[in-house]
């Protein structure tokens, strides 16, 4: 059984079928890039994995546990790790918090809930929370160092460049150590000279063995970084394979047409 199994995911918005049965598998430590022309449902697929949209049908299994469909959505929250993390095209950092606060926020909330469940006395609880917060801050600093921003930890998002904001967003997504990290066109909102620094960070994560799904229009990057490429067309996976299979020897007519158009 593969680490992630996505089976026959369907999603409709009103009358329009956006995902018409998407199935794929990936193993832990693999990097999968999703490519395809605009409006083909790439973002919708990532949003379904992250439960920002509820699929109409199909199933999602992570590490042998079915995360969709499930009646135990609430129970899931109790566990510490998250199945999926998400990095958005336009960052969505919290503007009122500094870079480091953006990262510690969810960790602190989680620590607070965990400590609450332990049923400690007020003072013990306070002490435990304080300790957890200090620990989270250390974790956040390490994460910021990893994306090369340890010197910006006390800056607010509005004081950072787009590339720096996106790197903070990546660190934020890593904070809860999700099993699978999703990126939705992480460099599309950036000036061309800033895409490099973000792609470099993602490459670094690949080298650490992170499991990632990356929706991207950066073909060269997808080719370099991925174990597998998924080409989506009209709400289904038209073709899936290794980068050289997809880029050098596409089998599908639609894939060939897409590359022909892209290279124009």
């Amino acid at each position: 059984m593969a680490f992630l199994e996505v089976k026959e995911i369907t999603k409709k918005f009103g009358e329009t079928s956006v995902l018409k049965g998407v199935s794929f598998e990936m193993e832990q430590g693999e990097v999968v890039s999703v490519i395809g022309s605009s409006g083909n449902g790439k973002t919708t697929l990532l949003r379904c994995l992250n439960f920002l949209e509820t699929p109409d049908g199909g199933s999602i299994t992570v590490g042998g546990t079915t995360v969709f469909p499930t009646e135990k959505a609430k129970e899931k929250k109790e566990t510490n790790g998250l199945n999926f993390g998400m990095v958005f095209q336009s960052f969505h950092l919290f503007p009122q918090y500094t870079a480091i606060e953006n990262i510690t926020l969810a960790m602190d909330v989680q620590a607070k809930e965990r400590i609450k469940r332990q049923g400690l006395k007020l003072l013990e609880r306070k002490a435990a929370l304080k300790q957890a917060k200090a620990q989270n801050e250390e974790t956040a600093k390490t994460l910021l160092a990893r994306v090369g921003l340890e010197n910006k930890m006390n800056n607010y998002p509005c004081e950072l460049s787009g590339g720096q904001q996106q790197r903070v967003a990546i660190a934020r997504a890593l904070a809860l150590s999700p099993d699978i990290l999703c990126f939705d066109e992480p460099t599309s909102a950036l000036d061309p000279e800033l895409t490099g620094e973000v792609l470099k960070v993602i490459k670094g994560l690949r080298d650490e063995g992170r499991t990632m799904i990356i929706v991207t229009h950066e073909m060269q990057f997808a080719r370099n970084v991925s174990d597998k490429i998924i080409f989506m067309a009209d709400g289904v996976i038209e073709e899936i394979g290794t980068p050289s299979q997809i880029f050098d020897d596409p089998q599908s007519e639609k894939t060939r047409a897409f590359f022909a158009k892209a290279s124009e």
């Binding site: 992250n50 920002l52 969505h92 969810a106 989680q110 607010y156 904070a175 809860l176």
Partner: protein, 227 residues
């Protein structure tokens, strides 16, 4: 000189009532307005409809009418004000103040609710989604992420409304509540001089001026980040 002292004592007593009405209204209408705002955005249609109609009626009719209505309503059911007073263990004057405050709280909660709603709806959906993918609950997203952004957004319209409230308190006199303006009027009648009005104006100006400074300071304090 003695006249001046009497005028001042009377005015200060009235000012005390004005401030009390102002404080009670703020203290209750600010949270109630937030509750109404959630009601007006509810997915539960009947609740949403009820709140929308309530807000429409309250904002579409004079506050003075609402005060009169609240005070006359019990008598429609054959209950006199003094009966209510003894039931609540209050003096008649306090009961009238209570009626006025009730009307003020409802009225201002409706105005505040619209300000809250506009503020909440202006928060980009991406903020909620970013919270959700970090595993935060709806409540946590609102309290940790959205609320402070809303406060910052609504501070300017809120301060406007609150400064209007300072002046609206003078409507309390329709029920004979001894507010600042009512006290001034009484003194003008008693001593046949206009100066009490002037003093009252100064009190109002000082109060609203103080609030203006306070809100200006708050706005500055909250603008440590750009959106």
């Amino acid at each position: 000189m003695e006249d001046f002292l009497e005028i001042m004592t009377e005015l200060l007593e009235g000012f005390g009532n004005t401030i009390a009405l102002f404080a009670v209204t703020l203290l209750l209408a600010l949270p109630l307005g937030l509750v109404l705002a959630f009601g007006s955005m509810s997915k539960f249609k009947p609740l949403k409809c009820f709140v929308k109609i309530l807000v429409w009626v309250i904002r579409g009719t004079p506050l003075m009418l609402q005060i009169l209505l609240v005070s006359f309503l019990p008598s429609v059911f054959g209950v006199a004000t003094k009966d209510i007073a003894s039931a609540l263990g209050l003096t008649v004057a306090d009961t009238l103040f209570f009626f006025v405050a009730l009307a003020f709280v409802i009225n201002y909660a409706c105005y505040f609710s619209e300000i809250y709603r506009a503020g909440i709806e202006a928060i980009p959906v991406g903020q909620y989604e970013a919270g959700k993918v970090l595993g935060l609950s709806k409540r946590q997203i609102f309290s940790k992420i959205v609320f402070m952004q809303v406060v910052r957004r609504i501070l300017p319209p809120m301060s406007n409304e609150i400064i209007t409230l300072v002046k609206d308190t003078s409507l309390a006199q329709v029920l004979g509540v001894l507010d600042l303006l009512n006290a001034a009027k009484a003194m003008v009648n008693k001593f046949v001089v206009l100066t009490p009005f002037l003093y009252a104006a100064v009190f109002y100006l000082l109060f609203s001026g103080l609030l203006t400074i306070l809100f200006g300071w708050l706005e500055k304090k909250l603008s440590y980040y750009k959106v």
